[in-house]
């Protein structure tokens, strides 16, 4: 079976992992016989391996210092007592945290003075009163409109800056349903004041007698 160069290189890599099946290995060998580039690739990998492996061995083929079994056993008990020590330490730290959190909680709740619980008369909002003297003029225009398929009274009112109530009054409509194709009159009116406007405000001075209670110590 003919294999491509890309596949050959991939297989060379798998071969280096000792993960190439015997059959695939045969195909690879056949390819390498005729392909010099891939042959070069395989050779360069083998060369790299032949250098790096002895080098690693020279670096790391040392022997460990003899381990005394007693030290391992002693280590075991040490970690046991160490565990107790750690547990007590954690408990103490936890206790301190709880005390800290508790005091913080206490402080936040007693921070706002007794005002919130005392009866405070609500402060009335000062109001401004307008008085209109005179009259205003109403200007209305009416236009005809043919109702479309998806129209509603609201949509038409919006379109012509009018209101649903006005349209219904102008056309003497009893229901809100419209029939497409019918013609209706759309009034749009504007108001212009011709009189004068007086404004007066009433001011309040609230008197609060807070019953303060000293925050709990």
């Amino acid at each position: 079976m003919e294999i491509s160069h890309a596949r050959a290189r991939r297989w060379i890599q798998f071969d280096a992992d000792y993960s190439l099946s015997a059959q695939d290995k045969e195909f690879l060998e056949a390819h390498l016989k005729s392909c010099t580039d891939c042959g070069q690739y395989a050779a360069s990998i083998k060369e790299m391996e032949s250098i790096i492996v002895p080098l690693m061995r020279r670096q790391w083929n040392l022997s460990p210092a003899p381990l005394s079994i007693e030290s391992l056993q002693v280590g075991k008990t040490n970690t046991l007592t160490g565990g107790y020590l750690l547990a007590t330490r954690t408990a103490i730290v936890g206790l301190i945290c709880m005390v800290f959190l508790f005091s913080v909680w206490q402080l936040t709740f007693s921070h706002t003075p007794g005002l919130s619980t005392a009866a405070v008369p609500p402060i009335p909002t000062p109001s401004i009163q307008f008085t209109l003297t005179g009259s205003s003029q109403k200007n209305c225009t009416e236009r005809s409109y043919i109702v479309q398929q998806r129209d509603t009274l609201d949509s038409i009112a919006r379109q012509f800056a009018s209101s649903k109530a006005e349209i219904m009054e102008a056309n003497k409509l009893e229901t809100e349903s419209l029939h497409p194709g019918t013609t209706i009159w759309i009034p749009s009116c504007t108001f212009t004041p011709t009189g004068t406007v007086n404004a007066s405000t009433t001011t309040y001075t609230p008197s609060i007698h807070p019953t303060t209670s000293t925050p709990g110590g």
Partner: protein, 204 residues
């Protein structure tokens, strides 16, 4: 890619032969019970492998010895929770790897702290002689060694496990808790980087 027919050329790094599962099955409960000779046997079987793995990660023999001791202490402590379905060596190597990496991280933060202090206070700090350099014999070795140490940690670890500790890809996957496909892709990547580093030297 078909199923593998493993052709292992075993020039075993660990000279002591592999422990049989049956012996392990008997040995482990003995160790849990605290019998010293059983512990001694277990330690003797695996200490070289553990030490060399630690050494290949941290680079320093003294530190590797400390790590070996810590590994066996930790292993003996958590031996009751060891599950049978996993290879014992892989389990032990995982502990070793974790310990080594923690040490390395601590050492790196210490180094950074030292550097900061020296730059602030302009104090001369004695540099420890890097022990690796003295073993390099020629330029090719220097290039490959440099490239290996420059590799990203995950690529370097699989390379060392594969070429130095001669673990199979499934064992590597077990030790690192990754899929076997990931092991393959990382090995291929590392190999390609090392190969091209060598190629650059040849000026091809």
């Amino acid at each position: 890619m078909g199923k593998s027919v493993k052709v292992f050329v075993s020039t075993d790094v660990n000279p002591v032969e592999r422990m049989h599962d049956a012996e392990l099955a008997w040995l482990i409960p003995q160790c849990i019970a605290g019998h010293e000779d059983a512990i001694a046997r277990l330690v003797h079987q695996y200490e070289t492998g553990v030490f060399r793995l630690a050494l290949s990660i941290v680079g320093d023999a003294a530190e590797a010895n400390e790590i070996t001791q810590d590994v066996f202490i930790a292993a003996l402590r958590s031996l009751p929770s060891y599950q049978d379905h996993r290879s014992f060596k892989a389990w032990l190597y995982t502990i070793t790897l974790n310990q080594s990496r923690t040490r390395l991280r601590k050492r790196k933060t210490l180094e950074r702290l030292k550097n900061t202090l020296t730059s602030i206070f302009r104090v001369e700090v004695q540099k420890q002689a890097a022990p690796e350099e003295k073993v390099i014999q020629n330029e090719k070795e220097a290039v490959l060694w440099n490239c290996l140490n420059r590799l990203d940690e995950r690529y370097r670890v699989v390379t060392v496990l594969r070429y130095f500790h001669e673990l199979s890809t499934s064992e590597i996957a077990d030790v690192l808790s990754i899929r076997e496909g990931t092991v393959h892709s990382r090995l291929h990547n590392a190999r390609e980087q090392l190969r091209s580093a060598l190629e650059e030297l040849d000026g091809i």
